[in-house]
């Protein structure tokens, strides 16, 4: 059952991302991207990571996408007819690199791999917080400094002369 849901969600995520990157209207692209993030969040839940799923929905689909929408609407960029569509000259490096990546994945997929992994144990918030603050306390400090610097930088860039 979970396998089927995983593959359906994988299809949804890939198709929504494909629509998002080929859409000319930035607002439509953001909405497709939010769909893709919701699918990815359910995949995280299936992969026994409920906390990562919750943060994906709250921060990615909730905060970052709304920030994008806010900037697009504030700068009045929702006019696809004024936007240059990338021509073939812009597409070919991306296509070449994607074909190389697809080839490397195909070679990975055909090579025999013996997988013996542990049974999935859903990580509760207790284990999560234990590992986070005991093993990665310094990383938490660094990330909080980074957020502070981002705040100061955004205030500096956004000030009016």
């Amino acid at each position: 059952m979970e396998q089927i849901i995983f593959y359906i969600l994988a299809l949804v995520v890939v198709v929504a991302t494909l629509f998002a990157i080929t859409e000319r209207h930035p607002v439509h692209a953001i909405v497709y991207l939010a769909t893709s993030f919701f699918g990815l969040a359910v995949i995280f839940y299936l992969l026994a990571a409920p906390l990562a799923a919750v943060f994906e929905v709250i921060i990615y689909a909730g905060a970052i996408m709304v920030l994008f929408l806010f900037v697009i609407m504030m700068l009045d960029l929702g006019h696809p007819e004024r936007m240059k569509r990338p021509g073939f000259r812009d597409w070919w490096p991306a296509l070449a690199l994607c074909i190389i990546i697809a080839g490397s994945f195909a070679s990975l997929a055909v090579s025999p791999v013996h997988e013996a992994y542990a049974a999935p144990v859903p990580t509760g918030i207790r284990d999560f917080a234990h590992t986070l603050f005991r093993n990665y306390g310094i990383a938490v400090e660094i990330v909080s400094f980074q957020l502070l610097f981002a705040l100061v930088g955004a205030l500096y860039l956004g000030r009016r002369k």
Partner: protein
């Protein structure tokens, strides 16, 4: 593990190459370039969470949270830069920003 880890990694690779294609193809629009970076970071998060589920410990999820925190900092700064650049040139075409001075 409900599906083999290689399937999760292949999905992650597909999403990453889609994001890379978006970043390289939309070089003329800063907003779409940022969207491509978001897609690539999501692929990285999926790889971390898949590894965390595959080996049965919480470290991958913790790095997923760190990537999300890093991304929120990056996006806030990058969008502040977009607003700043738009205020100067009235466009988000990256070809318009080709000078250091002024």
């Amino acid at each position: 593990m409900i599906v083999p880890l290689s399937h999760v990694l292949i999905l992650s690779g597909i999403i990453f190459s889609l994001g890379l294609g978006c970043l390289l193809a939309w070089r003329s629009n800063i907003i779409m370039m940022l969207i491509g970076i978001e897609i690539m970071l999501n692929a990285a998060i999926l790889a971390f969470v898949g590894g965390s589920a595959g080996w049965g410990n919480a470290d991958g999820q913790i790095f997923a949270i760190f990537i999300i925190a890093m991304t929120s900092a990056e996006v806030s700064l990058a969008l502040a830069l977009v607003v700043y650049l738009h205020r100067r040139r009235k466009t988000v075409d990256s070809d318009a920003f080709n000078g250091l001075g002024e």
